[in-house]
């Protein structure tokens, strides 16, 4: 009796253990049943029935590496449309042989047309969906359908979305005013009182055949994907594009500049180039009277002299100091340009309202509703401090000797 019972329990227990551990397979999707989505493009469909046209750039793992490569395109784009984002995603699954895996989306590209209409409805799914990460980069496709940017072959790396991410990272470190803008930055930006987010632009330059491997067979690719201007929003609607000084100034105020080249004019057609880095920004609002706040932007930066093809005596500290004053004026001009651009777009994406709120939360509540008109007229001061730390590997240019 006793042994029979023991046998019963002894055989039941392993079965139970196996059943229990099998519950872990409920949500399992094997790797060979997954298709990894590297980028998503969102276009405005013609009707409200298919308002969202989503294009998914899906990585074909066999073509990236592996013996089964057929020499075909390393990524494929699938399209789906629907009344909501999620419907469009589900719709696209009719064409895909595998489950679309959203966990590795690197870029989300929104068409300019849609951005002018408003982007707030499409952000919810990226926030809510537990598979997507907040760290995907957002772009606005400038003047083109968003799908164009996903269907362009790129030279570096086989996956165009990764290439775009690397382009953004490179430019943000080296030259430019473009910086990382992720999903949560946009969500916060949309809610910025009286303002909106700033989003990177992207566009394809060049003609046809961009989506074929042939596009890369020439030394000059037929089409190049590039990161462009900054898209400025008011709430969730695209209002305008910032480029040049306006864009640099904006990124400076946002404290997102790693380093930028800066060219100072010292005479007719004579220029000195600097690299400006280690930028530190502090926005201070003097808001005792919230109706007339005074906003001061403090910026301290360091610069290295990179190019000086002229007869300046760079061994003289006075000359270098004068140069840094010119440089400060240059930066101030850029900040001016940025502020007046923001004013002409009537959008406080620079975050001055937040500065007022930090300084005087009670006063902010009174002026919150008509902040637009205050922002348009309030006094804004710039306090720029730049030190030229060194002149790199030479002091004077050889042209200095020619003069003598």
């Amino acid at each position: 009796m006793q042994s029979k019972r023991l046998f019963f329990i002894g055989s039941l227990l392993p079965c139970l253990m196996i059943i229990l551990s099998l519950t872990g397979c409920w949500d399992s999707v094997e790797l060979n049943r997954r298709a990894i989505v590297s980028g998503v493009a969102i276009d405005r469909g013609p009707t409200d029935e298919e308002k969202y046209v989503l294009s998914f750039q899906v990585i074909i793992a066999d073509e990236i590496s592996g013996e089964n490569a057929r020499g075909a395109s390393p990524v494929v784009v699938y399209k789906g449309s629907g009344r909501t984002m999620f419907e469009a995603l589900a719709n696209a699954s009719r064409q895909t042989a595998r489950f679309l895996s959203l966990g590795h989306i690197r870029v989300i590209i929104i068409s300019e047309k849609f951005a002018r209409e408003g982007i707030k409805d499409m952000m919810d799914v990226f926030e809510r969906e537990s598979e997507t990460r907040l760290s995907s980069y957002i772009f606005i496709s400038k003047g083109q359908p968003a799908i164009e940017s996903l269907t362009t072959m790129t030279a570096f790396g086989k996956i165009p979305a990764n290439d775009l991410v690397e382009k953004l990272q490179t430019t943000s470190k080296q030259y430019g005013y473009n910086y990382r803008m992720e999903v949560d930055d946009i969500v916060r930006g949309i809610q910025l009182p009286g303002g909106g987010p700033i989003v990177n632009g992207v566009m394809v330059i060049g003609g046809d055949q961009q989506g074929s491997n042939d596009s890369l067979k020439d030394i000059k690719p037929k089409a190049i994907l590039r990161v462009t201007d900054l898209a400025a929003f008011k709430e969730d609607k695209l209002k305008g594009w910032l480029q040049g000084d306006e864009a640099v100034g904006t990124s400076l105020i946002k404290n997102e500049i790693t380093q930028i080249p800066e060219v100072v004019s010292i005479g007719e057609n004579e220029y000195v180039s600097f690299i400006v880095y280690l930028s530190q920004v502090h926005i201070h609002a003097e808001a005792k009277d919230p109706e007339h706040p005074i906003i001061t932007i403090y910026i301290s930066e360091q610069a290295g002299l990179e190019e000086s093809p002229n007869a300046l005596d760079l061994t003289d500290p006075k000359v270098v100091n004068n140069l840094s004053e010119l440089l400060e004026q240059n930066i101030k001009d850029k900040l001016h340009a940025a502020v007046s651009a923001a004013r002409s777009l009537k959008s406080d994406y620079l975050g001055f309202g937040e500065a007022v709120e930090r300084e005087n939360p009670r006063g902010w509540k009174q002026v919150k509703d008509h902040w637009d008109s205050i922002f348009a007229t309030c006094e804004i001061k710039f306090d720029v401090d730049i030190v030229v730390r060194h002149t790199d590997m030479r002091n004077n240019s050889f042209q200095f000797n020619n003069i003598r």
């Binding site: 519950t23 409920w26 966990g103 949560d184």
Partner: protein, 366 residues
């Protein structure tokens, strides 16, 4: 009862894990927006004061759990009713935490797995550990506390290096004055998670050092309060108030912002691990408290009740609400309606009665 004795360090780690439990991953104290971290600290202080009361009772009855001295002080009949109420409270709390943990796991990772299966696995592991005994639970906590602290250190340093922290998002402090903070403290923060320490009154008889024991537990509460507050500071400074307020599990998106040169990223699965560990300990401590209460009150051997009680907890957790929204809403209400009664009022009565008794009658030896 009194033959098991558990060390101070084990009790410390058990307290820390119990307090961190689910509180670490949820949006704690967001009623007060940016100042959530302050309300957590205030809640911690109030929780410590409440705990001082429990410690006083423990000092007076070092060998008895709560349900036993309730009957001594209130008399046999009234005392038994209140004891049963406490046992039901512990069972309910255990069920609520099980539901919390299960739902969060379903939301965060395992979308298609039935909630019942996840809850069952969790309660089974907890029942197994308690079948082995309370001292096993406390020793397990020592191991897992090290793990949780390592994960915490790793994640917070990585967040710092990845540059997503913007402390400006915490400003201005006291934007709407101090009232929202106080109301958040009164509605939530002193009860959850600090008031839940009431269940430690059931475990404290196992302490091996009457003098230092309460101090060690209080230190555990203090440390975990600081950790919770720091976590909230991290959440808000990374995501901003609005996103934190709208996420049931803000720590996950916060950690998902970690990206160090495209190499260290997607570490949010560590948070799922912390969540499972936290829920396990919270659940087990309530479970243990209920078990000790039952075995003490009805004189039933502790081990025989483990699996029946596990079943009760499992089904109450599933049946208690239809959706997570309903569950959270109900929990929020319980925090300021029912719980203060059990966690503050009755202990206060007990303290008053004990104080009067020990004052009027001559001190007994031992």
């Amino acid at each position: 009862m009194g033959n098991i004795k558990i060390g101070l360090l084990q009790f410390f780690t058990l307290t820390v894990l119990f307090e961190l439990g689910t509180a670490l991953v949820v949006n704690l104290g967001m009623e007060s927006d940016k100042d959530a971290w302050i309300s957590i600290l205030l809640g911690n202080l109030m929780g410590l004061i409440v705990f001082a009361g429990y410690a006083y009772l423990y000092k007076k009855f070092p060998n008895l759990p709560l349900t036993a001295y309730i009957r001594q002080l209130f008399g046999k009949y009234v005392g038994s009713v209140i004891s049963i109420a406490y046992i039901v409270l512990f069972l309910n709390l255990a069920g609520r935490d099980l539901r919390d943990g299960g739902s969060m796991l379903v939301m965060a990772t395992m979308h298609r797995t039935p909630l019942f299966i996840i809850s069952m696995l969790m309660i089974l592991s907890s029942a197994y550990v308690l079948h082995k005994g309370v001292e096993v639970l406390t020793r397990t906590s020592l191991v897992f506390a090290v793990l949780v602290i390592l994960i915490g250190l790793f994640c917070s340093s990585m967040l710092m290096f990845s540059g997503s922290i913007n402390l400006n998002r915490l400003l201005p402090v006291f934007e709407n004055g101090i009232n929202p903070v106080l109301s958040s403290v009164l509605h939530q923060n002193y009860m959850f998670p600090f008031g839940e320490m009431i269940c430690f009154t059931m475990l404290m008889p196992y302490l091996n050092n009457v003098k230092k024991g309460p101090w060690v537990i209080a230190a555990g509460m203090f440390v975990s309060g600081i950790l919770l507050s720091l976590t909230m500071v991290l959440n808000i400074s990374v995501l901003g108030t609005d996103i934190v307020k709208r996420s049931p599990l803000p720590l996950m998106p916060t950690i998902s912002k970690i990206s160090i040169s495209d190499f260290i990223q997607r570490v949010d699965i560590l948070i799922v691990m912390v969540l499972i560990i936290g829920v396990f300990f919270k659940l087990s401590v309530f479970f243990a408290a209920a078990l000790i209460g039952i075995s003490e009150l009805f004189k039933i051997p502790y081990r025989r009740m483990v699996y029946p009680v596990a079943l009760i907890i499992l089904f109450s957790s599933i049946l208690n609400a239809r959706s997570f929204t309903e569950h959270i809403e109900e929990g929020g209400k319980l925090l300021y309606t029912v719980f203060p009664f059990f966690m503050v009022l009755i202990p206060l009565l007990l303290i008053i009665i004990t104080a009067i008794r020990s004052h009027s009658s001559p001190p007994r030896s031992g």
